[in-house]
Amino acid sequence: MLSAPLSAQPANDPAPLRYSDPAEERRFHDLVAELRCVMCQNQSLADSNAQIAHDLRREVLDLMRQGKSDAQIKEFLVARYGEFVLYRPRVESTTWLLWFGPALVLLAGGYLVARVIRTRASGTGADDGTATDLGRTSRGGEDEQEW
């Protein structure tokens, strides 16, 4: 129901795009694979069969032939459809979490693993009854798994 108005597409199918040489074709395919279809948002501009994707592919090829750089073509689309059209968003204050979040999570995970290992090592070293709960529980766990 939601997709009903959004999937509404004109029926006329444009002629297929023609490339002047293989280099142009390769550049075109690389470029449209990095652009998101505004209609079917899970697809790239290269994959989508939506009418607007046909139109935008044609526009991208036109812009290429006008001598625009890849960055200029992306800028053209961002000015009209927003940052959303880029599969690789630019590093900005609104996207830094997207860019660096995974690295931060990895660092936090690494730190935790290091801490757990340190705690275990000290736990086995100082085996005086006041060994840490972690040391005890984990060894208990290992024992259980061994039988």
Binding site: L2, S3, A4, P5, L6, S7, A8, Q9, P10, A11, N12, V38, M39, Q41, Q51, I52, D55, L56, E59, V78, A79, R80, Y81, G82, E83, F84, L112, R115, V116, T119, T130, T132, D133, L134, T137
Partner: protein, 207 residues
Amino acid sequence: MNTPDSRPGSTSGATRWLPLAVFAALAILLAAGVWLSRNPDREKLPSPLIGKPAPRFSLPVLHEAGRLISTEDLRGAPYLLNVWGSWCPACRDEHPVLTRFAETKRVRVVGFNWKDEHADALRWLEQYGNPYFVVAVDYEGKAAIDWGIYGAPETFLVDAQGIVRWKFVGPLTDAVIREQLIPELDSIATKAGAPAAGASPAAGTAR
């Protein structure tokens, strides 16, 4: 006595709660995702054109062969630009709502006939009635790209200075008109009624 006891106790406590904390964090993350996906408008794109000058076009007029209409021609008073096509079933649903609103004469309603066949568009308006002040035809879809149009219906509100003030994706409903469009129109009207807020024209006349 307290300090040597509490130190190992606190670390082991923290590590014991760690899996639970990680699980809780993941659960919150998943819940946030589910919650966000409940928004029915999540696929609708915000327009980067809001607050910017309306993209220029010069397009043929549907009902008058040879006449062109441009964004310059429309300047001077606010207008509602409604994107439609005879191929679009949702436009059919929207049509009575739009007609009722157009009849109030609050604002000019301009039709943007997108990638349609000329005869189909004319027949469609004959059959269902024509609420539009004027209908511009974009058969190629070039002007539509400049406006960031990606589906139909879509509706833009442009003020008297030619600045895009509001955009709605999908069929207009009475509730959308009441809760979004009318307040926008009111805010445009108060801005236009008030003496020019910009200091530069006043300074210019003083000189």
